[in-house]
Symmetry: C2
Subunit: 116 residues, 2 copies
């Protein structure tokens, strides 16, 4: 998303905007979506999301973590092992994620989505 408003900046003030600023980013929703089903490691996410680069994935994960939507757990092992999972707050996004998916499934039947 071009970018939503900077972190919780009460412009129009509405919570919708603030909410959006947290899930704004080309991959965030997908990441959250994949994590709905459970914990995943960095490269598992990478494989589940075709097209994302390492840099982008790292970047988006860090932002999600900073916004308290996901939890990052590092295991001091070699090779490194880092697990990502939804935080309580992230889990509370489930209804939104599902509403979005439902809408997409219902109103965007692949290509013939031109009928207003």
């Amino acid at each position: 998303m071009p970018r939503a408003v900077k972190k919780a900046q009460t412009s129009t003030g509405c919570s919708v905007e603030r909410a959006l600023s947290l899930i704004d980013g080309k991959w965030k929703i997908v990441i959250l979506y994949k994590l709905l089903r459970g914990t995943l490691r960095f490269n598992e996410l990478r494989r589940l999301i075709p097209g994302v680069t390492q840099r982008m994935l790292t970047h988006q994960l860090r932002e999600l973590e900073a916004d308290g939507l996901i939890v990052r757990v590092v295991y001091a092992q070699v090779p490194p092992r880092v697990e990502y999972s939804l935080s309580t707050r992230g889990q509370s996004l489930e209804p939104v994620l599902l509403a979005l998916k439902h809408w997409g499934d219902t109103n965007l039947s692949s290509r013939e989505a031109e009928a207003a």
Copy 2:
């Protein structure tokens, strides 16, 4: 939102992404949100959304129209009169908009939103 995926491009294929690409843009959600309550004219929207510039508002409205989410009606008058309202498809987004707002209201109490 920096930008979601280009128009309905089945990357991860998931409908969530496609749905997002339609509502991606710094002002789209707010516009749709304002229109939930009914038809509005260009300058009414402009006044309701502080911070948006004429160019941006026009731009976002055109994209929403192109995606079939809103309807634009021009009255051949002077001064010009253009009314915007949600299309059927746009209206079907209501659950998503509300879920988002509800989540925002519930999980983002202004500033103390740091608790994971």
